[in-house]
Subunit: 410 residues, 2 copies
């Protein structure tokens, strides 16, 4: 939580932290500015002192709305450092930041955060590290300070995630309505206008629904039929016509506009009656999901859930990634991941036995077993999000039903 | 252009380059993989050799579709390095990348690129820099290698940008249709259902239109009425009802889904008859735009256009950012910026006299003069995109008209 930042700085022996970049698609800056619509900004926090934000004058309204102590770039002589260094280059930025450090009394170990172009930030960090009395601190653990802070979500954050979920549920409803309005001809789905219903038809409905619910597709959505779904991150082929009985994995993960919180959910669609193999695989995945959901407990090692999911699938005769990291048939990924300002964040319910994560109050994470059978052209994944309440009670915040078959009218 | 990468490596005396991260919202990786839908990947290019891509097995379809020589993380022993280093931490990544360097014969000066969390990449780079025979090269100039490559766009890239523009034009049409369908009551706009028409009403129409055209709002859109518009990056207030005669700055910049190319355009809306002050300011901005557009010439310094725009506005009595970097009334920003896989990239038509950019064939950039008058609550900006053809001819690729007033039916 934001309130943990000072404590986490002390744990890391940081005298100050610096965040660079815009608030959008940049979790640390979004987090500390609570989603202010800021472009390239500078956030400076000396331990034990109020943070200071340096903003672009064109964004003064957004900067002032944060309530933070703040000043504009020109008030910090940014244009002079650009002039003196022959342009807006790493030397100009390093000189400007050195000036900002001096002006704000920053000394000692400084942690630097924010999404940056590697080739641009590295020479800046090298120069900052050469300033007298300044050490650029390294984050060498499995999680950075902000990943540690963000792992604990409060009810207000979870409510925002739930709200994004409503857009997902509406999108599934819209996709199902398209299937229900169609009719089958020789095992392929056609609409009321007799035009073929394609994966792209579903994707258009999904995007329209997201827009109507003011949620944003950030990394694309997975709508993957048959063989496509058996490579878990294959986004699907828009030109494919929907086929009776085939598995369609629909994994969607929109976020709030402005680079805010994500939701993440996977449901299955199948036009008409599923094949016997699909029904069987679906039942196995659903069993794994319900087993994991039913056993979540604060204090348990996250990897344990992955291990027990592998046990379950292996007992049913499927191969798993635990047996072979190169596995492409069976259960081929981790059981889940934290969700928040990143689509994948801490804790991890996957990895291997070295995964140090332990379930704790405030964690918000997916549970998403899946089976992928390229040889049968069948793939099934089901995914919910769970929040561990402050009192330790797990709540499945995903309220959409687990249907498989959707029957066309005709 | 992509074809320039080897040459740019030679200019920088790079023996190899490494790109880290996903293809989405990560211009270098998007650029070299031509927009493959890849998560966290590793791209390695030794000068004079074919590049190699390391991908997540779940993304094997997307990786193989790139046509690049490639291998999956497990084939490069990634899981072993995580095990040996106690988790997925910087030490594990550094050890893994050291292994990949060795396996692929990488030695000498290596440039590292890609959008990364600063606190995570810095310790990795420090460790790579300590490998025997390896130097992590610093990019100290105004542009990185990929910014240099990307500054020159080919016709295929520009066509993709034009296509995103169609979504913008449709969005303006949708917003104008809402205004035309309304009626004024005491200077405020109401719809056919007698509900007030708000900035949020326009924003919903914009998002629906973007979805229908398969373009994505990445950083939010600016729909800023009256005083809001006078802080150039204020996104506007959704609850505000549209007012007769007020300036509404509509600056929109969607991109292709999957983190691809941006468009960027600004047009004005005014419900009914504009105030005399707005008409006057609008005419001045339009004059500045047409003057700049009419004078673009290969070989000219980009900053010259900014300087001459300041001349024009100063002659009309407006203050400019050239006179005072803290200016908040008058002409308060640069004249334009490159557009591509970033919304702001090279060349810059702003900055100060140290801006080294010179107009050249292949450049694709905005021209966007504006005037901001908080004291009058009036703001006007107009923005087009220009491409310099390979033969040096500038083309204004923006084909949407410059209207100001839109008259409600009632």
């Amino acid at each position: 939580m934001r309130a943990d930042i000072e404590k986490l700085m002390a744990q890391r022996n940081l005298d100050a932290l610096l965040i660079l970049g815009p608030s959008s698609a940049n979790p640390p800056m979004y987090y500390v500015t609570e989603g202010a619509g800021l472009g390239k900004s500078v956030y400076l926090h000396r331990r034990g002192h109020a943070p200071h934000l340096i903003y672009n004058l064109m964004e003064r309204d957004a900067a002032q709305a944060t309530g933070l102590d703040c000043s504009a770039y020109p008030e910090n002589d940014f244009p002079r450092f650009v002039e003196e260094n022959g342009g807006d280059n790493p030397a100009a930025w390093a000189a400007f930041l050195a000036h900002v450090f001096k002006k704000n009394g920053v000394q000692g170990r400084v942690g630097v955060y924010g999404m940056q172009e590697t080739a641009r930030i590295y020479p800046i960090l090298r120069r900052l590290g050469e300033l007298p009395g300044v050490e650029v601190a390294e984050e060498t653990g499995p999680r950075t300070l902000f990943e540690d802070a963000r792992i604990t979500k409060d009810a207000a954050e979870v409510d925002r995630v739930r709200q994004v979920g409503l857009g997902c549920y509406a999108a599934y409803d819209a996709m199902k309505a398209i299937i229900r309005a169609g009719h089958l001809v020789e095992g392929k789905l056609f609409g009321p206008d007799n035009a073929p219903v394609r994966i792209g038809t579903l994707r258009e409905a999904l995007l329209r629904t997201f827009a109507a619910h003011n949620v944003m597709e950030d990394h694309g959505s997975i709508i993957a039929q048959g063989k496509d779904g058996t490579a878990p991150h294959n986004h699907g082929t828009d030109s494919d016509i929907l086929r009776e009985g085939a598995s369609i994995v629909v994994d969607i993960f929109p976020r709030e506009p402005g680079g805010g919180y994500f939701f993440d959910i996977t449901r299955m669609l199948c036009v008409g009656q599923a094949t016997p193999r699909l029904r069987e695989v679906y039942a196995d995945v659903k069993e794994a999901l319900l087993t994991a959901l039913g056993s979540l407990k604060v204090g348990e090692r996250c990897y344990g859930y992955q291990a027990r999911t592998c046990d379950l699938f292996e007992a049913k005769g499927y191969a798993t990634i635990r047996q072979d990291s190169r596995c492409t048939s069976g259960y081929v990924h981790g059981l889940g991941h934290g969700v928040g300002l990143d689509i994948h964040e801490a804790p991890s319910l996957g990895g291997s036995s070295v995964n140090p994560d332990v379930l704790a109050p405030g964690h918000l994470f997916t549970v998403e077993p899946g089976l992928y059978l390229p040889e049968d052209e069948v793939a099934v994944r089901l995914e919910d999000i769970v929040w561990i309440h402050p009192d330790g009670t797990p709540e499945n915040i995903t309220t959409y039903p687990y249907d498989l078959e959707v029957f066309p009218a005709g």
